[in-house]
Subunit: 452 residues, 2 copies
């Protein structure tokens, strides 16, 4: 038979079982935490009509999108979860209650140039709160608290959620008489971390953007405002009264930073940062980026913000919202590369491997059933191999417990329970064994998927 | 602005939040139960190289597949989860330990003609056990026990897992001197339920298949064998000794039916059924179909079997296996249509809606944080609406509990907890409220997603 070489496409993550087990903990942690805040899970198709997905249109998206025809249909794969959300809300407007809070964890597709750490198929994990006409500012303070709880549950502690408000920036640039160039300026300032202040100044004063030298200096002074949140807010008060949009943004930023501690976010995990703009025209109020304190080179691992109009390409209903997105596949990849995924996490396919050592399997099957009824993940190993091969299978897959059943055990109606970590072996009735293993696993269950 | 009509493609399931909440319970139940048997979760790309997916080739698949080019690459969307598993095992053979047990719940794509209840994008939920060269028969008995536990956890009781063995059929046809036509015959017999015995006889004796009349009668007598499992096995013993393959199949079927009760499957939930063949050349031993007793018209909702060679198109390693698949999207759709999804299940986005009735929100935010820390799914409603609008939001989304916080409550440091089912309202400290709500929810948590 002619054989095809098995292969997985470049830019598509496909994990071996131990890594996949960690990814599952990741996704389950996200689902649990998002649910704690009243977000309902959503699942939209991977394929949509191309004109629906490309309603907004625009450069990079059109180039990267996977688009094809099937029969007469012009189809495309979703490239984010925001456009499908906009479609969903516009389509089901009458059936939904607002504010509408949804989370979605799903694969999206972008035909980027293949390179290490860049993915063409990747998971995004999004939460959004959509209002009908209006949406209260408290929601903008709640979003970072969700990220805080999610990240700490995963095992991260050393991270900062950076918060800014686009109205402050828009208002500030208007004060400088640069309102018409605010978009270009913000996109340039957004590069500050990567290229440094000198280069930013150079770009701002270039012919293309054309900011006068004095205004460029003013901009650099402004974005250099640093300090505790109270200090930054206090420095911003110095600009109050010169522009209505600026003042409104400052009020919002004050409200967000005031609510954050009440939502349980410690001061060290969030920071007002005037350099955050998010290089998209989409955001209109609060914006977020999240960086790992000891790995600034990774960039933001969780970003988002407030927008005024989710679905303007589909409906005339004003639908303001606030949302944040985790690029899950990339984050997982980076954590793996940095050695930040815990090896202490149990990644075996089951908690217990039951190994019968006789041909007669009844007692072993019954024991496995007893363990499963007790909620223990249990695999029965029935291949007729030598004892050594069976134990080497248990070792290779990392089962925390092995239960051995030979003629002696069957005669006594008991099983030998081997704790693979300590090597200790005890003889017990199957029901007792289940209790012992469960207790031991509960003790060991505090391990988090990320270690710092 | 010119607007695009928001729409979802025909043949693509997109659920409203209450139905999606039920689908999530479905998927979580599958994940939990598959994990109880030592299956490791796998996640392979939706897109693969077209030549990899089409290694086997063949009629319907080639017609239905979503295939397209991106740059120079000839790509396709997976149409099942078996071919990607075969690729994965062949590709990672050296890194895996065998038997390799994996489950995968993922979307697959088939460009079928659009019609009601037919989906082009749908979830399959697969479990497979792959051996390296050999795989013990006990695995073939364990598979139905997994389905039994999964279905009963979902709330189904009235179903029968029908079991047969392809070797019995192959051996029987060989006895009739029809070994060379066994495939055609089995495909025809497989239609018995749909077209009846007369029509089957007609097709068998047609020129195309060419079974002699006497042999056709013998075949119809054989597949008409009915009764308890013991009776059917006993009738099959009457054929023993005439064909080695038949005898081997009968031994396997006896082994499977003997182990099933030890795996905890009651006699009424499985049946030896000689009409089950699975219309695929792929299966070589035990085969399964699962039917809902009171809805035979739905057909099999969970099918699979034993195969000798998972990945022959990719590797010369013999990789026998056994697996079963649930067509999740179709099953969910059918249950919904039949009114078999429980309305008693809580589908609200959270357990508690916290409604502040003052402008000052600190106590409400702190209360929400307390509830979340206690593990309660909690939504904070902060939109400045009238009380009636807030309560109507709570009603519409079906929150089981609402917590009201007005000036009186704040003054006392307590909250008003309203049980939306009974209407009862009590005043308590936030911590106490959390305890009460948790206790009440635990009491109500026995509801299963399917009702019969």
């Amino acid at each position: 038979m002619e054989r095809i070489k098995p292969r997985t496409l470049s830019g598509f993550m496909e994990l071996l079982p131990p890594a996949q087990a960690k990814m599952e903990v990741f996704m389950e942690t996200l689902r649990k935490n998002y649910s704690l805040y009243g977000f309902t899970p959503l699942d939209t198709p991977v394929i949509e009509a191309a004109d629906v997905l490309l309603a907004k249109g625009g450069g990079e998206t059109e180039k990267q999108i996977y688009r094809f025809t099937k029969g007469d249909s012009d189809l495309a794969l979703r490239f984010d979860l925001t456009v499908p959300l906009a479609k969903y809300v516009a389509l089901n407007y009458g059936a939904l209650a607002f504010p509408f809070r949804r989370y979605q964890i799903g694969k999206v597709y972008r035909g980027e140039r293949a390179q290490r750490g860049r993915f063409r198929e990747f998971y995004q994990a999004d939460i959004d709160i959509i209002g009908d006409g209006k949406l209260d500012i408290v929601n903008e303070a709640e979003i970072p608290s969700i990220i805080y709880r999610t990240f700490t549950t995963l095992g991260l502690e050393k991270f900062v959620i950076r918060v800014n408000n686009r109205k402050i920036l828009t208002g500030f640039y208007a004060m400088q008489g640069l309102g018409d160039r605010a978009g270009d300026i913000m996109r340039t300032v957004d590069k500050l971390d990567k290229i440094g202040p000198e280069k930013v100044r150079e770009l701002l004063t270039s012919e293309e953007i054309g900011v006068p030298a004095a205004a460029a200096d003013e901009i650099l002074r402004f974005i250099a405002i640093r300090g505790s949140n109270a200090e930054v807010l206090s420095a911003l008060e110095g600009y109050r009264g010169r522009n209505g949009i600026f003042d409104c943004g400052l009020d919002e930023l004050r409200a967000v930073t005031a609510y954050l501690p009440e939502f349980g976010v410690p001061e060290q995990n969030f920071a007002v940062d005037l350099t955050i703009a998010r290089g998209l025209d989409y955001y209109t109020g609060t914006v977020y980026e999240t960086t790992l304190t000891e790995h600034p080179e990774i960039g933001s691992v969780c970003s988002g913000g407030r927008y005024d109009n989710l679905a303007e390409y589909y409906t005339d209903k004003p639908l303001p919202g606030v949302g944040i997105s985790i690029g899950l596949t990339r984050l997982f990849y980076v954590l793996q590369e940095q050695g930040m995924l815990s090896d202490a996490l149990i990644t075996a396919p089951a908690d217990v491997l039951v190994i019968p050592m006789t041909e007669e399997l009844s007692f072993a099957v019954q024991t496995a059933t007893t363990l499963r009824n007790a909620g223990l993940r249990t695999q029965l190993y029935t291949e007729p191999k030598k004892f050594k091969a069976k134990m080497s299978y248990a070792d290779k897959l990392g089962f925390p417990f092995v239960i051995l059943i030979g003629e002696d055990e069957i005669a006594q109606g008991k099983v030998s329970v081997k704790d693979m970590a300590s090597g200790a072996q005890t003889l017990q009735a199957p029901g007792e064994a289940a209790g012992q293993v469960k207790a031991a696993l509960t003790e060991r269950s505090g391990v988090k998927v990320i270690k710092e």
